[in-house]
């Protein structure tokens, strides 16, 4: 793992890179970063062996939470909106997580899907929230600065999205190497053995679920800021499915792969839509099929290779260093 400061520098450079990107790519990159954030949550959860097919629930909760609070209290700051979205998603995740963590495998996936569709149905029927049409919100600002130039507004949102997703990625990298990260992989392989070691596998799943919900809520906030409109489609199953696509493309071994997968998916979708408007879904399907066939462990396996990087005890690292020094 690179030093966190190096990674922070890379994130800052990626944000500044937006200055030289063509205008049309800024919104595409913002969507890719936002989708990567929610997919990152799915990957964190998948490390416990559970896949959520209903992250749209938290995505919509974050989006609607931000939209309602922004309209009621006039909060337009992009960072504040992102934090509100994360809190909304996280709170809902903390309520649902302990209940759903008792299930695993296909039951877990179907329950998450069912809950998101229940939420979708409720949103469609709620006229106070605009029903199926949803409602609009104002343009986001940043630390009191209002951006009237569309290019500047797009860059601001891109920068906030990239920095947020980048920091979430750094946090995830640290998480993967932590005790909780190792316990998550252990739960994925053998939850009963984990219980025999005195660890609650349900608690491990719940914590990962809540983290995924926080990321989904923040991602929903970015989607809202980008579109300046929200509707029940945020909670629909096809929306959740797209995020799972990104996670499947990336695999669960590398955080960087999630960003690459999200960007690749957006690029393929945009270009196939541009050049093959009637058959773009076919192109997207072939692309997905190709990745699954040739990289079954995801794009991340291109540079992670066969083995995952190991956590070595300090004493082993010390002994290796001594051996190296002696040679």
């Amino acid at each position: 793992m690179k030093h966190p400061l190096v990674m922070i520098l890379l994130v800052a450079l990626a944000a500044l890179f937006g200055r030289v990107l063509p205008a049309w790519t800024l919104s595409l990159a913002t969507v890719a970063a936002s989708n990567a954030l929610i997919a990152l949550g799915i990957v964190i959860l998948a490390r416990t062996g559970n896949v959520s097919f209903g992250q749209g629930l938290f995505y919509a909760a974050g989006g609607y939470g931000v939209a309602l609070i922004a309209n009621a209290w006039g909060i337009t700051d992009a960072v504040a909106q992102m934090l509100i979205g994360a809190v909304c998603g996280g709170l809902l995740g903390l309520v649902i997580g302990p209940l759903i963590a008792r299930y695993s495998g296909i039951f877990f996936g179907m329950l998450t899907l069912a809950l998101s569709m229940v939420f979708y149905g409720a949103l469609v029927k709620t006229t106070a929230l605009g029903g199926s049409d949803g409602f609009n919100v104002g343009r986001p600002s940043l630390f009191g600065m209002v951006f009237t130039d569309p290019r500047e507004a797009d860059f601001m949102l891109y920068a906030v999205a990239v920095v947020t997703t980048g920091l979430a990625g750094i946090a995830a990298t640290i998480l993967f190497r932590s005790e909780l990260g190792l316990a998550s992989l252990a739960v994925r392989e053998n939850d009963l053995r984990v219980e025999y070691l005195g660890i609650s596998s349900n608690r491990v799943v719940t914590i990962n679920f809540a983290i995924a919900a926080v990321f989904a809520g923040a991602s929903g906030a970015f989607a809202l800021m980008a579109q300046r409109h929200i509707d029940p489609q945020f909670a629909y199953w096809t929306t959740s499915g797209e995020f799972v696509f990104v996670a499947v493309l990336a695999g669960y071994q590398s955080v960087a792969a999630i960003f690459v997968a999200s960007l690749a998916l957006e690029l393929v979708r945009s270009f196939s839509n541009l050049y093959l408007p009637n058959t773009w879904q076919l192109v997207l399907g072939v692309f997905l099929l190709g990745v699954i066939l040739f990289l079954p462990r995801g794009i991340g396996s291109l540079w992670i290779g066969k083995g995952r990087k190991r956590v070595e005890p300090a004493a082993v690292r010390g002994a290796a260093a001594q051996k190296e020094a002696a040679q």
């Binding site: 932590s178 005790e179 009963l192």
Partner: protein, 247 residues
């Protein structure tokens, strides 16, 4: 002496099969007890009942006077009973050290940390691995290790909690005849500092007579004989139904 484990009237049925038939058993602190019996005699069912994986139909199980009969495996582990498995239950994508790091994290009273495992844990992990003669495989994934090594790591993981009672399910199964005594010597030597009381399920009567100071013979869910190895292994019923004449 107060028994560390006390079982009274323990019953468990699977349909028509009686896997535990009104079992009564006390195990005192410091004993090395071997459970013997033919396949299906009820040894592993007994281990599964004591560790909370199975719930008894009736009867009681007490650890140091605390009823554990209805508790989950996690609670039973926290109270002081650890086990290893006939087929090692390891996390095969993780390294040997990472498997033990998870075990050490589980043994701590605090919640799982968001930080990388502390160096203090690393020391404990390496010390345990070296005690089993496995210092050299610390950073090797379990998937690359031989069955005998996996068995030892499985036992090391059970030992992390310094259990009051350690249950070993066939610790030498899958180990060659030439290596079985060396393996068992290593196990007994390695567990001695951390586990005072050991119960091990075993089919090999040479291992039983050499390492156990008490033998409990099971047959059709009942205890057929209970006592010192010399007497139990000479018992006519044990020879007929369990050992088939083996010494």
């Amino acid at each position: 002496m107060t028994p560390v484990l006390s079982v009274r009237g323990l019953e468990k049925r699977f349909g028509a099969v009686v896997a535990a038939d009104a079992l009564n058993l006390d195990i005192a602190t410091g004993q090395k007890v071997s459970l013997i019996g033919a396949n299906g005699a009820g040894k592993t069912t007994f281990v599964n009942l004591v560790t909370g994986y199975l719930k008894p139909d009736s009867g009681s199980i007490a650890l140091d006077g605390i009823d554990i009969g209805r508790r989950s495996p996690r609670n039973v582990a926290r109270l002081g009973i650890s086990r290893s498995f006939q087929i090692p239950q390891l996390f095969i994508e993780l390294t040997a050290a990472e498997n033990l790091i998870v075990a050490v994290a589980g043994a701590r009273a605090q919640a799982l940390s968001f930080h990388a495992p502390a160096e203090a844990h690393d020391g404990k992990v390496l010390e345990l691995l070296e005690r089993f003669g496995l210092g050299g495989v610390a950073d090797r994934p379990i998937s690359e290790l031989a069955g005998g090594v996996r068995k030892l790591i499985d036992i090391a993981m059970a030992l992390v909690r310094r259990p009051k009672l350690l249950l070993l399910d066939e610790p030498t199964s899958g180990v060659s005849a030439e290596e079985k005594f060396a393996t068992m010597d290593r196990v007994i030597h390695a567990v001695a500092p951390d586990a005072a009381t050991i119960v091990f399920v075993e089919h090999d009567m040479e291992i039983v007579s050499r390492y156990a100071d008490r033998v409990v013979a099971f047959y059709q869910g009942r205890i057929l004989a209970d006592g010192d190895p010399h007497n139990v292994l000479k018992d006519a019923e044990v020879r007929r139904f369990v050992t088939g004449g083996a010494q």
